[in-house]
């Protein structure tokens, strides 16, 4: 009988367990011992990099769903990438627990605003959030932009609004953030490298 491991598990979960297992020539103990692999066999592997420190360990994320358009994906397991030249499949205690960060109950899901003096958050739409922020930024920039300094020299800077950029974000996000903020004349602009 020509059957690979994946088909075998399908056969088992498809209701053929029990007596038919004996017909297949396998012992039930082997199946029970395989439960961990069983889950990952159905998972989609995605290569990624640990988000914590600057060692940059390679990780493999195991996700539900095959990335088809209508299949909802969810990461169910993360482990070290054995091909990676630095970590060779290993992870530290916090890297091994990365899954808990992905699914943290502290993850933010919707834009929110805390109005001046309020003691609660209000959920708002992305459009409302971005429209209001852009309005605040433009009004502040227009009011406080310094085109020339006291000596009449061209300086074109905006000092009344600043930004801290994320050094756990990708190079691509960082590059775009820099390009945009500098075009506004922003100088109060740093990332975690400053501290």
């Amino acid at each position: 009988m020509d059957m690979d491991r994946r088909q075998f598990f399908k056969a088992c979960t498809g209701g053929l367990a029990g007596s038919s297992l004996a017909l297949l020539g396998f012992s039930p103990e082997a199946v029970l011992a395989e439960t961990r692999n069983f889950k990952l066999t159905h998972a989609t592997e995605t290569r990624n990099t640990c988000t914590y420190c600057s060692v940059g360990c390679g990780i493999i994320m195991y996700g539900l769903g095959d990335k088809a358009k209508n299949a909802a994906s969810a990461i169910i397991h993360i482990e070290g990438d054995p091909d990676h030249p630095v970590n060779r499949g290993t992870l530290c205690p916090k890297g091994a627990a990365l899954l808990d960060l992905v699914h943290s109950q502290s993850r933010l899901k919707y834009p929110q605003v805390r109005e001046a003096g309020a003691d609660t958050w209000t959920t708002i739409s992305w459009d409302e959030a971005l429209d209001r922020i852009a309005r605040l930024m433009k009004d502040d920039r227009d009011r406080h932009f310094v085109a020339r300094n006291g000596e009449g020299a061209t300086v074109n800077r905006w000092l009344s609004t600043g930004m801290l950029a994320a050094s756990a974000s990708s190079n691509e996000s960082g590059y775009l953030t820099h390009k945009v903020m500098r075009s506004l004349g922003m100088l109060i602009f740093d990332n975690q490298a400053r501290v």
């Binding site: 627990a97 953030t177 075009s183």
Partner: protein, 809 residues
């Protein structure tokens, strides 16, 4: 890192100082273990605490926090006095023979050129003596009394083992034992690596601590060699990338720099940065600055950047001073700022003197937090009892909180501390309505641009003209952005050596920064990243881990800047005849017509050894600088200064001089000076640090790390505990002039009392990971305690050395 993680396996000696790799970089530290197991390497750890790294060391020496320059200055003296340094390397590859101006001087802690009112130096007197040929004067015998080596001998004469003992509290036998380990690598064929991290950067003289380490490595001939180098282990997963991309208040991508107010003339701006060689035949690669700068401006402003408008020079803001984060919160606390955006950054927890940070945020009109997690900063206005005792009704700041993706839900590249750009792929959708950072920034910018188009406003030109060549404008893809920072040809590029040959056609991705031009025919958003996404595709996504030379270079894995080179300055791994110093080194060698080896050679490929092209191609000297004629705020040679809060009464290296007790060039705001403590009220040295189970203020949001280290604690030595009647596990209150925290005391023999010239110094260790948000037990933000003063060059806060008091709670 000049070298990289796997390369640590090639070391004969590993010095960990100003860091704790076993705790903070566990999977990288495995290469130290590998070096010990398979290369007979010896690990030496110098630290105030007997750390997890020290537990695996062959030798551990204690040191008082903040005194690393005194210790390493002592090492420099030991090497120079004993002659146990790599003399051929020092003579040929450092500026040891360069003659310093007759006007240079040093008097009891202060260098020549100091202005006490401005607390800054004019470095003119530190310059080299220039010869009639227009080049710096060099004495190859190293005997000229004003040559750098002789200046160093005089400068470090005070740094005796006895002085090290008095300042650092390190017993002389321990200090000399460390010297012997280090000096064992001052010969060809033996190499040491130095691994450091925030334990060196977070001091008011942090940059000079690192320079002292680099001087030791240069004297030992350990820079550029496999298993050698100065290796900054760094912090966040892409802190190297954001540094490379210049997201700093005074920077542009690729270590280009913004102009100052006085640089109104574009040609002068360019000329100042276009370093001319100080010696004949040297590369001085910064001669190409105009090519990198013009290519950046073409990437950002495209057709609007023209030769006529100096490539849109005025589209960039100019600096009247450094706007670092301490300056920002000083302005904020004075009510001079209205808006602030925190993208994946939690300043309430991460910056010093929490009370000042909180008061500053409360002065803002609006605060925007972009983060995957609910941070303390986003709720600085909310009352969390003793952990955040504020009144929301009195805080008028409007706070927006925008949810963004985390690593698992996005693709792109991160640059690790080895300078490897590694691509990662998206595994799942983000929760709820969370968006990627690029989409959020694009959403803000699109709205701003539309508002300026509709209403006009202040200087809209750079906003109107910013290039936006992304296929999906509302959400630029990582691919489009990576292609842009790599760069492309804007016209057909003819080979300057052969006009009939094309190097690249218009529109093609460029293969390396050597192709960049200063005539507007190339665009590159970050010149050092040119080569990451070439015409051949995404080099960062490469996954060939083959190591054909068995020296760990894996050139087919991801892509390293610059030009996929894995070890910087590897041109110094060979002797002046082009032969490797060590038969074990395969990085590069002269094969009679070219340089070749297991790494990408850090030399012009056809520069024969008899041309004497120095291996430090980025310096105007062509060699490495033991003495820096300009560029360091507090002097050309590292000098010990006390931390701004010190447990001792005097700086013994410049006794009796009040100006040189602490770094004389460090900036201290008046309000913060009043918030510094004196040893009488705050007698104990304190230092903050990370634990292996946690990462800053993130992992308290994740269950397993929150279980592994659930509760806030501080570490104190058993001597101090006995003196104060504090039992292991008791609750203690720790306070500085700026505030207090309450935590559990871990009483340990891993922190010992030290004798510093008759003063008994106790250290208190303060892990940083708790706060009032997350799933771990709530705790106090450790930065409630830390002082608002930074390094004189970088303004990185002095988190590693300050003073506190302690009592049973």
């Amino acid at each position: 890192m000049t070298n990289h993680w796997v390369d640590i396996k090639n070391a004969d000696v590993v010095l960990i100082m100003g860091g704790n790799a076993a705790e903070a970089h566990p999977c990288g530290f495995k290469w130290v273990t590998e070096a010990k197991a398979h290369n007979k390497a010896r690990l030496v750890v110098v630290d105030p605490r007997f750390t997890r790294s020290a537990a695996l060391a062959d030798y551990y020496a204690p040191i008082r926090t903040g005194t690393d320059i005194a210790f390493l200055g002592g090492v420099i003296k030991y090497l120079l006095d004993s002659g146990k340094y790599q003399k051929e390397y020092v003579r040929n590859y450092t500026n040891a023979g360069f003659v310093v101006n007759a006007g240079y001087g040093f008097d009891n802690g202060i260098f020549s050129g100091y202005d006490p009112q401005k607390r800054s130096y004019d470095p003119a007197s530190w310059a080299y003596e220039m010869g009639p040929d227009g080049y710096a004067v060099v004495d190859p015998t190293l005997e000229h009394p004003r040559c750098v080596l002789q200046v160093m001998k005089r400068h470090y004469a005070r740094y005796t083992p006895e002085m090290v003992q008095k300042v650092c509290g390190t017993p002389p036998e321990a200090f000399l034992k460390v010297c012997e380990y280090l000096a064992s690598t001052g010969v060809p064929g033996r190499v040491m690596t130095i691994l450091y991290a925030l334990g060196w950067t977070q001091h008011s003289q942090g940059a000079q601590m690192i320079r002292t380490g680099a001087i030791v490595q240069l004297l030992l001939g350990n820079i550029g060699l496999p298993g050698g180098g100065m290796n900054a282990l760094r912090g966040h997963s892409n802190i190297q990338g954001l540094t490379d991309l210049g997201l700093l208040s005074n920077a542009l991508p690729g270590y280009l720099t913004l102009a100052g107010d006085k640089e109104q003339d574009y040609e002068a701006y360019i000329a100042k940065r276009t370093l001319k060689p100080l010696r004949p035949n040297q590369t001085s690669y910064w001669q190409n600055y105009p090519k990198f700068h013009v290519s950046l401006m073409k990437a950002w402003w495209g057709k609007a950047a023209t030769r006529e408008n100096h490539w849109a020079y005025d589209y960039l803001p100019k600096l009247d001073r450094l706007y670092d984060v301490l300056q920002a919160f000083e302005l904020m606390s004075q009510g001079k700022m209205n808006g602030y955006i925190c993208q994946g950054f939690n300043p309430l927890a991460a910056f010093p003197d929490k009370a000042k940070i909180s008061a500053g945020l409360a002065q803002l009109k609006f605060l925007v937090v972009i983060d995957p997690l609910a941070t303390e900063t986003s709720e600085f206005w909310k009352n969390y009892g003793e952990f955040n005792d504020v009144e929301p009704s009195k805080i008028a700041t409007t706070v927006f909180r925008l949810p963004c993706t985390c690593f698992a839900e996005e693709e792109g590249s991160l640059t690790n501390s080895s300078r490897w750009l590694q691509w990662h792929w998206k595994g799942a959708e983000a929760p709820g309505a969370a968006r990627g950072d690029a989409e959020i920034i694009a959403g803000l910018f699109g709205r701003l641009r539309a508002l300026y188009a509709k209403e006009g406003g202040a200087f809209p030109d750079p906003i109107r003209d910013l290039t936006w060549p992304y296929k999906v404008g509302e959400s630029p893809s990582a691919e489009d952005l990576a292609r842009e920072f790599n760069g492309k040809a804007l016209a057909d590029l003819a080979d300057p050596k052969d006009a009939g040959k094309l190097l690249a056609r218009s529109g093609e991705q460029l293969a390396s920064f050597a192709m960049l031009r200063d005539d507007g025919s190339t665009a590159s958003g970050c010149w050092i990243y040119c080569g990451a996404w070439t015409q051949a595709g995404n080099q960062m996504a490469r996954r060939d881990n083959a190591d054909p030379w068995n020296d760990g270079q894996t050139l087919g894995w991801a892509w390293a800047w610059p030009v996929n080179r894995r070890i910087l300055y590897n041109g110094a791994s060979v002797d002046p005849a082009g032969k490797p110093w060590s038969p074990r080194s395969h990085l590069t060698a002269w094969n009679g017509s070219a340089w070749a080896g297991s790494d990408v050679p850090d030399q012009r490929i056809d520069a024969a050894p008899d041309q004497h092209v120095g291996p430090f191609i980025m310096t105007a000297e062509g060699v490495a600088k033991l003495f820096v004629p300009s560029g360091m705020a507090e002097g050309p040679l590292p000098e010990h200064y006390e931390p701004f809060e010190s447990p001792v009464a005097a700086n013994l290296l410049s006794p009796g001089n009040p100006r040189s007790f602490s770094n004389p060039a460090a900036r201290l705001f008046a309000g913060d000076a009043a918030r510094l403590g004196k040893p009488e009220q705050f007698p104990y040295a304190a230092t903050t640090y990370r634990l292996t189970e946690h990462f800053h203020y993130w992992t308290k949001h994740a269950h397993i790390p929150a279980v592994l280290q659930p509760q806030q604690f501080v570490e104190i030595g058993s001597d101090l505990a006995a003196q104060k009647g504090i039992a292991n596990g008791a609750r203690v209150k720790v306070w500085s002039k700026r505030g207090y925290i309450v935590a559990v005391a871990v009483v340990t023999r891993r922190i010992k009392a030290m004798d510093c010239n008759g003063t008994t110094v106790h250290h208190i260790g303060i892990p940083i990971h708790w706060g009032f948000k997350g799933v771990a037990n709530a705790g106090y933000l450790a930065n409630t305690l830390t002082p608002f003063v930074g390094d004189a060059n970088t303004q990185t806060p002095e988190f590693k050395s300050f003073t506190v008091n302690i009592e049973k709670a």
